[in-house]
């Protein structure tokens, strides 16, 4: 598997194809303003295996897109692109995700796409 650095320059344990599929699915479901960050073991080159843990961010006025149905649509699209891997999605929204947990994962999350 090639380690392709994302726009922040930090390498992650995802292939270029996986990153592209994730970013495309995110844009399709959540729009162009979405930011996709990787956290957890796949963001750490010293670890092996592990789920793909994704943190999605949207500007405040667009956070109404953070619905359960959109999460499911996103996951279906990603898995059609990269196969049936274990992927967990967290919304960067304190009304939906425990704020302490969000603080913790934001610190080490790696940006997978660039907001244009």
């Amino acid at each position: 598997m090639e380690y392709k650095p994302p726009t922040t320059g930090k390498p992650v344990r995802l292939s270029e194809e996986e990153i592209a599929a994730i970013n495309q699915a995110a844009k399709t479901v959540f729009g162009d303003s979405v930011s996709v960050l990787l956290f957890g073991s796949r963001a750490d080159l010293t670890q092996k295996g592990g789920d793909i843990d994704l943190l999605l961010q949207l500007p405040e006025p667009e956070k109404s897109a953070f619905t359960l149905d959109n999460k499911i649509s996103f996951l279906v699209r990603v898995k059609k692109g990269i196969g049936d891997q274990k992927i967990d999605v967290v919304y960067d929204d304190v009304t939906k995700t425990n704020p302490t947990f969000l603080e913790m994962i934001r610190e080490k999350a790696v940006l997978l796409n660039a907001v244009k």
Partner: protein, 168 residues
């Protein structure tokens, strides 16, 4: 696999799926006065609610797993399809093509509902209520997918009515 073996295996899988489907229906019957589920209902943690929601969530996952992992591949074998080396994607696409499932993407969505309710990430009570309502809605869809497959197998000459084990 010879037909008798396949029939026996099919009945075994259906027996397990029937058990999950029946328990889901039982849980739904008991939860229906409380649907749609609110954050307040979850906050109060009523014991009666907890028993049935746990049943609903647990059995939804079990039925989804059993159908995808066992019933779907067996169904294709019953239709004389060659399934060696088939991925789940191949299985779903084939089932959709022969009309045994309405849509491969619908199944994938049900799978994601199952995965989301198994997720350990700390959520809010509001999101728990939303997820529970989603399981409620999808459990009806899941059972209808299951019943459709049983019906189609039956129409094609397969017995889909298992007898309980002699010890019961």
């Amino acid at each position: 696999m010879i037909k008798e073996e396949l029939q026996s295996k099919l009945l075994g899988v259906i027996y397990q799926c029937d058990s999950h489907a029946l328990t889901i229906s039982f849980a739904r019957e008991n939860l229906s006065p409380m649907y749609p589920f609110s954050p307040e209902l979850i906050s109060f943690n009523k014991k009666s609610y907890l028993t049935y929601t746990d049943q609903l969530v647990f059995r939804f996952s079990k039925l989804q797993d059993k159908m995808g992992g066992s019933l779907f591949p067996l169904t294709l074998q019953c239709l004389d399809e060659v399934t060696n080396g088939y991925t789940m994607t191949d299985t779903l696409n084939r089932l959709e093509k022969v009309g045994l499932i309405r849509s491969a993407d619908l199944w994938r969505s049900l799978r994601e509902t199952r995965n989301i309710i198994s997720n350990d990430y700390p959520s809010t009570i509001n999101e728990t209520a939303i997820a529970l309502n989603k399981v409620w809605e999808d459990s009806e869809v899941l059972i209808s997918v299951y019943n459709h497959i049983k019906n189609e197998l039956n129409l094609r000459g397969w017995n889909t009515n298992p007898q309980p084990p002699a010890s019961l």
